[in-house]
Amino acid sequence: MHEYSIVQALLEQCESHAQEYKATRITRVILKIGKLSGVEPYLLQSAFDAFKEGGICREALLQMELQNLVLHCEACGEDSEQSEICYQCKQCQSTQVRAVDGEEMFLMRLEME
C-alpha cells in the first residue's frame, strides 16, 4: 500500500502549485498513470479521498488517464505503444529499447480558482 505515500507527494505538489498561482482551491487534479508505474488507480483514488480533507484539494475531483507502455527503439528509431507488457520493439523486434512513457506517474493539469 504505497499509494498513501504517493498521494502525500501529490498533495504537496498541488499545494505548491496553488500557492504559485495564488489559487484558493483546486477543483480538479488530472494525472497520467503509467501501466508500469506499479500503482493501482482504485487505491490511489481512495488514498486521495482520505488525505485531501482540510487541504487545498478538499473539493477536488481526481481524474486518472491510464498510459500504455511506449518504447523508443534504438535500433530502428521508431516509437511504439505496447498494449501488453513487453520490452521489445514491435516494428523490428529489437530489445535495444527504452521506455519513454508508461513507467511513471505524472501530475498533468490542475483546475483551480
Binding site: 500500500m1 504505497h2 505515500s5 504517493i6 507527494a9 501529490l10 504537496e12 505538489q13 502549485h17 504559485e20 498561482y21 495564488k22 489559487a23 477543483t27 480538479r28 494525472l31 508500469l36 508505474s37 506499479g38 500503482v39 507488457i85 513487453c86 520490452y87 521489445q88 530489445t95 511513471e104 506517474m105 505524472f106 501530475l107 498533468m108 493539469r109 490542475l110 483546475e111 483551480m112 480558482e113
Partner: protein
Amino acid sequence: MCKDCGCSIQDHDHTHQEGHSALHSNPQLNDAKTVEVITKILAKNAHEAGHNRAHFDAHKVLAINLMSAPGSGKTALLEKMAESGAFTFGVIEGDLETSLDAERIRAKGIPAFQIQTGSACHLDAFMVHKGLHEMPLDDLEVCFIENVGNLVCPASYDVGAHLNIVLVSVPEGSDKIEKYPVMFAKADLILITKTDLLPYFEYDIDHEKAQARRIKPNVDILAFSTKDEQSIQNVISWIKFKKSMRS
C-alpha cells in the same frame, strides 16, 4: 546541495516534459483556470535517487537494489557473497521492524546499516540516503540495498541503485513472474533461488524463464542455491562483470 555530503548535484533526471507551466507571465488567477503543470508525482524521490547514484559514482561503488517477496533468500545470498570474499561490499537493509538482517550481515564481518521503515512497505531514496552516509564507501566496491520484502511497492521507487536484482524462490510457485510483471520488468537480473528444492515442488523453471523474457526479452536469469557452489560463482561473475563495465 546535500547537507550531509556536500554534493552539488541538483536538477538532474529532468525529462523534457517537466517543469513547463502554461502560465508564465501572470500567475494571478482571477477565474477558474486549467494549468498545465506536468511533473512526475515522485519528482522529489527521483531527484534524491539521482543524488544517491551520483554519490555512489563519486566513490566508484556499484549500487545494487535487491528486491523480492519476504523469505526468498536476499539475506542468504548476501551471506554467501560475504563468505566468498570475492569483492568488498556493504549493505543498507530495509525492514519494517528489527535489525535481525543487519546483524546477520555484520556477523559475517560486512558493514551493514539497518533502516526500520515502520509501516512503510518499501524503501525510498531519502531512506537510502541516510544509509549511504553510514557506509564506508571508500573501502567498498559494491553496495547492496536490501529492500523490504514485497513484490509490489518497491518497484515504484527509484532508490538510486545502478542495477536491480529480483529474487523469486522455488517454493513461491511458478506463477509469480506473470502475477507481478511490474516488479520483474524492473529486473536486470532475475535470480531463481532455492533451486535445491526443485525435486520437491511442481516448479517449471523453463516456463518461468519464458514468462520473464516475454516481459523483458533481454533480462539475465540465473538459478541460485546456497548449496550449489557453481551457482554462487555465477552470481559473483555477473556482479564482477557489471562492475568492470563501470570502472
